[in-house]
Amino acid sequence: MAYRLLLIGLLAVSVLYTLTARHIPMDAWTAEELINAQTLPTVYGILLALTVLVLLFRTSPAAVGIAPGRVLRLAGIAGLVLAFVAAISWLDLWLGLGILLLVTAWWLGERRWLPMLSLAVSVPLIGYLGIEVGLGVYLPD
């Protein structure tokens, strides 16, 4: 079922992509070219739709089952990544990274505080010293 849903999703993407490709604005000169800005995207979109359609009519491959708890874990991690990205604009990048590492390790079931804190402190510190101080890469605030 999940496999079919994935294929239907891909089919929808390919149709939307092809329709968008057909509406790429072009001037009169470009439009006359044999291969213009629309041509290859349209070919790719149609080919993907056709390939996915063929796969839809084939037998689904056997999928490995996933425990529901694991999906929840993954959803939590995706949420943490989103929170990290939202936070780096006002929180310092390295501080945000340290918090992300700490909370992700805890969320995954790690309860040993020493390795967790070592990871959360050492990686951002090495990153800061190596990249900002050592290589002189400028990071905007």
């Binding site: 891909l10 992509y17 291969i35 084939r58 990290f84 990048l93 990274l97 992300l100 995954l108």
Partner: protein, 487 residues
């Protein structure tokens, strides 16, 4: 030529220049290991250092940085499936599974030996054939490139197993589609940007590779049961037995030749070379994982050396990295091209001679580091997963400095996870993404050159040879079906 070679060795083997090769290799390897920092970034970061050196010393150091960074990228590709640069993507296909099976030390050692052999063979070839190969490179123009790219894209689908062909085509097309996002290079028209400035330059390569390989891999580890703790890397894993060396020697020879020739062609570079070599090895070789690591590693190092041919002999940068190197040469007041060979032979041959030394240093530096690096895999998944997630997010953020790219990365990683869960191979996606822009640009240039009539293409021998090869490749599935029916 012999006189030039002697001049080159006497320039490269001064104490100061030996020191700069060593420094360049070390700096390149360390920077190449960091996510998102490939050879271009490594060379760019070293430009201020090169200004304090004389032209020969500066260029020798830069060459060391270049192949050091190419090699460094393979370490993260093998250990955590995070190839920081496109040319090490093919290394991760077999290198990472080897690492997961407790053979990280062996995979890294094979990569080190293969890189050394590929780089050294490349340097020998560069010394012998530089002049002839420059002429060959000139014969390859847009029509030939278009076919070469179509050949590479077709091979990845056609030579997959019969059950994996359609899934490979799906991911290849997704990659090609992702490559069309951004401003159209020839007409300057925005495509699939939805009026967002963040998408105007297209998707960043590091973003796509980190999302589909590193972040998706971390997510897969979250969904699966914890893998068993891997044993320490013993010194035994770093030694190659005589049997193994005998088995891998032809692989390295073939792949170095493929790598060097591909590297000579402007625009093709180490990425295409590594994919080609990997693909060839899977078809004609024994198909072992060890060969799957040795082939792309020797090819990408030989290609890095080969890319110096158009740069030094014609003054044409064949890749982004050699374009930065061209800038460094121009800043020294050097004009690469045929006159460089006659007017400043010590620089031309000195850079080439330093490559022997650089490859030797790379091997000597990296072998002792392997047990230390492989220990990374013994970390529990509760700590390794956050490390990979943090590593990939920071790698992309440092490359683009754009938070929007991290949202895109998360979405792409979830798509890659879903595709991978149902056995869709992800390598074609990456190949399609990398080659999408090149294919479109060369196809459109071919039409400009043809000016509406295709007769001129028939006068190009290289084009005709590639066209025949392409047709033969497309016929392979039909031929296999025919054979299967007869059997």
């Amino acid at each position: 030529m012999l006189e030039g070679i002697i001049t080159g060795f006497s320039t490269a083997f001064t104490l100061a220049n030996v020191g700069w090769v060593l420094f360049g290799c070390l700096a390149g390897t360390l920077i190449g290991m960091l996510p998102g920092l490939g050879p271009i970034t490594a060379i760019a970061l070293m430009i201020p250092v090169s200004y304090s050196l004389d032209p020969a010393g500066g260029l020798i150091m830069m060459a060391g940085v270049y192949y050091g960074a190419v090699f460094g990228g393979s370490t993260s590709a093998i250990l955590i499936n995070a190839p920081g640069v496109a040319s090490t993507v093919a290394t991760s296909f077999d290198g990472y599974p080897m690492a997961r099976d407790g053979q990280a030390g062996r995979a890294l050692a094979i990569a080190a030996y293969a890189s050394f052999a590929g780089g050294t063979l490349g340097a020998v070839a560069l010394m012998l054939f530089a002049g002839y190969l420059a002429a060959l490179a000139l014969a390859f123009q847009s029509p030939e490139y278009t076919l070469l790219l179509l050949l590479a894209l077709s091979s990845v689908v056609v030579f997959a197993s019969s059950s994996a062909r359609l899934p490979s085509l799906v991911t290849l097309l997704i990659g090609l589609m992702l490559g069309t996002i951004g401003t159209d290079q020839l007409a300057g028209i925005p495509r699939f940007t939805f009026d967002r400035l963040d998408l105007a330059d297209g998707l960043n390569f590091v973003l796509v590779v980190m999302a589909t390989f590193a972040l998706a891999e971390a997510f897969r580890m979250v969904l699966q049961d914890d893998p068993p703790v891997l044993p320490d890397v013993s010194a035994k894993q770093l030694r190659l037995s005589l049997n193994r060396t005998r088995r891998l020697a032809p692989v390295v020879g073939r792949s170095s030749a493929i790598g060097f020739i591909t590297g000579v062609l402007p625009g093709a570079g180490a990425t295409l070379a590594s994919f080609f070599a990997y693909d060839v090895e899977k078809r004609v070789g024994d198909g072992s994982r060890e060969a799957g690591v040795a082939a792309p590693e020797s090819a990408n190092n030989a290609a890095s050396t080969g890319s110096f041919v158009p740069l030094l002999t014609l003054g044409i940068p064949g890749s982004g990295t050699t374009a930065v190197l061209l800038g460094v040469m121009l800043s020294y007041g050097l004009q690469p091209g045929p006159r460089l060979l006659s007017e400043q032979p010590e620089i031309f041959w000195g850079v080439i001679a330093s490559m022997y030394l650089g490859n030797l240093f790379l091997l000597a530096l990296n072998l002792p580091l392997i047990p230390l690096l492989a220990r990374l895999l013994r970390i529990r998944s509760t700590l390794l997963i956050p490390l990979i997630i943090g590593f990939s997010l920071i790698g992309v953020y440092l490359t683009t400095l754009n938070g929007f790219d991290l949202y895109l990365m998360l979405g792409l990683a979830l798509l890659a996870l879903a595709l991978r869960w149902f056995a869709f191979p992800l390598a074609p996606l990456l190949l399609g993404f990398i080659l999408s822009g090149l294919l479109e640009e060369n196809a459109r240039r071919t039409l400009f050159l043809a000016e509406g009539g295709f007769e001129m293409l028939l006068d190009r021998p290289a084009f005709l040879v590639l066209a025949i090869l392409l047709v033969l490749v497309w016929l392979v599935p039909l031929w296999q079906r025919f054979r299967a029916r007869q059997d």
